[in-house]
């Protein structure tokens, strides 16, 4: 990767990126509320499940496909991948969080850069043709920035885990060292999720984590909550 692409990857992976990560816990808030996650060990085990069952078999496949179609300049195909990711994401709160942060990333990138592909895709989003899922927007953005596909996938995993660790720090008494240790320990899981998504087509998207779905459905109706998901 060029120095420019590497710096772009660092910027996109930073929790400083204003895409509203602080509003999403992807069900973690309810897991904590119910006492299912009460310490660093529980948290790491649950994050492994997210990587193996949710991020790997859905988001990363979508990201790879969006990255490839962006490199080919095929906006229609990017929109199809985007719609398909929505069709396989059955938890309503997950769709909402992914679409909102995707929309923010899209508008941020359009403020920073002039790229006709980005504008064409944004038009389709405005027309309701594409839901602007975060993983798809990230695939488009990294594809345009010459960040290679595998690095973009690793970036996505890193961003997802740091986002949930940030949420966990507000929900649990989790020290900064513990958070860094989990991030470090989860590296093999992130790499495994990225490797497992290689060579898969959008038809292979099969997220499967039923207890996360059930707990998230309960989060939708929780009386008091800090997070949108």
């Amino acid at each position: 990767m060029t120095a420019d692409a590497t710096l772009e990857a660092f910027r996109l992976a930073d929790s400083f990126l204003p895409v509203g990560t602080y509003t999403a816990s992807y069900g973690l808030e309810q897991f904590v509320q119910e006492g299912r996650v009460s310490d660093a060990t529980d948290l790491e085990a649950l994050l492994s499940t997210y990587l193996e069952r949710q991020v790997g078999p859905a988001d990363l496949i979508a990201l790879r496909a969006a990255h490839a179609t962006t490199r080919e300049g095929d906006v229609d195909a990017a929109c199809r991948v985007d719609r398909r990711l929505t069709a396989v994401t059955l938890a309503a709160e997950f769709r909402k969080s992914a679409e909102q942060s995707g929309e923010r990333l899209l508008s941020l990138q359009r403020d920073l850069r002039e790229a006709s592909f980005l504008n064409q895709y944004a038009e389709r989003v405005a027309d309701g043709d594409a839901p602007s899922n975060y993983a798809v927007v990230l695939g488009v953005v990294t594809g345009l920035a010459d960040v290679d596909e595998r690095s973009a996938c690793l970036l996505c995993c890193h961003g997802f885990v740091t986002g949930l660790l940030g949420a966990a720090q507000r929900l649990l008494s989790l020290g900064h060292t513990d958070a860094q240790r989990i991030l470090d320990d989860l590296r093999p899981k992130m790499i495994a999720a990225v490797d497992a998504s290689a060579g898969r087509t959008p038809d292979d998207m099969m997220p499967f984590a039923p207890l996360i779905d059930v707990i998230t459905a309960n989060h939708e109706r929780a009386d008091r909550r800090l997070f949108m998901s």
Binding site: F31, R36, V37, D42, A45, L46, S48, T49, Y50, E52, R53, R83, R84, T86, A87, V88, T89, L90, A91, A92, E93, R95, M205, M206, P207, F208, A209, P210, L211, I212, D213, V214, I215, T216, A217, N218, E220, R221
Partner: protein
């Protein structure tokens, strides 16, 4: 991919010869076809065709909905065996109301070679309604089972599709001893794809009892209430409440499906009965909302 493999993960199995009757031989390729149509005397079963392991004894008239017709599909065999390829087609024509279930659980037998596969195609015509609520699927030790279900809805059609999977003969201590289970659901409305769902379990490759997957539970079920454009937000809350209030230890939750397609209710429990109780409560509630009639009682004996 081998010609007969439904998914890359089943490719190795598909290449294995079946030592007893071969794939596709009589008794191994069960076909079931059911067509329901609206008549002046209510819904009638106008076409039925069943080969082993399916059997249809006729229709039942106990549905609380005045126009509905019911078929309980029976099996004269001990269950689904290696090398079986089942093909089910259920068609509900315009304005007909049909309920299709099985008489007892589907037992997927122990396997050493090949796999068993089932394809189910459901379609509902304009203004029609289908309840496809079979009894649970029980996966015996070593079972390899792949099922693919498609649902196609015309404008103003609705459907309730349920599926419960039991990971072994729990009472004898068999639990997650099957080899692979893949169940996919594809749904289409008049404007194209609505949503897709997949259940993929291969206990030797990935621990099904991991937190967030099954956790402490064993039995898993989902009921899809597919009713495009019918105020899914309100329906989701109503079904969630019905499922949560049911007298059962199972954990359940309802959520709005993508593309305004309706509601999914998922449940996890310790035994099939707990999960079925929760899902039946949600089904009953959905039926009252969609058809203004309760669901038939779950008891079949």
């Amino acid at each position: 991919m081998a010609a007969d493999a439904p998914h890359p993960t089943f490719e190795g199995y598909a290449a294995e010869p079946v030592p007893q009757a071969a794939v596709g031989s009589p008794g191994k390729d069960g076909v079931l076809e059911l067509t329901f149509a609206a008549t002046s005397r209510g819904t009638r079963l106008v076409h039925d065709y069943a080969t082993v392991p399916f059997h249809v004894s006729g229709t039942l008239a106990h549905d609380p909905h005045p126009n509905a017709e019911t078929v309980f599909v029976q099996s004269p065999t001990g269950g689904v065996a290696q090398g079986d390829r089942l093909d089910v087609t259920v068609r509900v024509d315009s304005d007909a109301v049909a309920h299709v279930s099985t008489q007892s659980s589907t037992k997927v037998q122990t396997m050493q070679r090949n796999y068993a596969g089932a394809r189910t195609a459901l379609s509902v015509g304009s203004g029609g309604h289908l309840d496809y609520v079979p009894e649970p699927t029980i996966l015996h030790e070593g079972a390899r089972y792949c099922q693919e279900l498609t649902l196609e809805l015309a404008a103003d059609a609705t459907a309730v599709v349920a599926d419960v999977v039991v990971p072994g003969r729990l009472a004898r201590g068999e639990r997650f001893d099957f080899e692979r289970y893949l169940s996919r659901v594809h749904t289409k409305g008049p404007d194209g794809s609505l949503f897709e769902d997949a259940t993929h379990l291969a206990p030797a490759e990935s621990d099904p009892t991991a937190p967030g997957v099954f956790g402490e539970f064993a039995v898993y079920g989902t009921t899809f209430v597919v009713a495009p454009g019918r105020n899914a937000a309100a329906l989701s809350d109503t079904l969630h409440e019905a499922a949560s209030d049911a007298d059962s230890d199972a954990r359940a939750g309802a959520t709005e499906l993508p593309n305004d397609a309706g509601v999914a209710v998922r449940a996890l429990g310790d035994c099939a009965n707990a999960v079925q109780t929760v899902l039946h409560a949600a089904w009953d509630c959905a039926r009252r909302e969609l058809l203004d009639a309760p669901a038939p009682v779950g008891r079949k004996y």
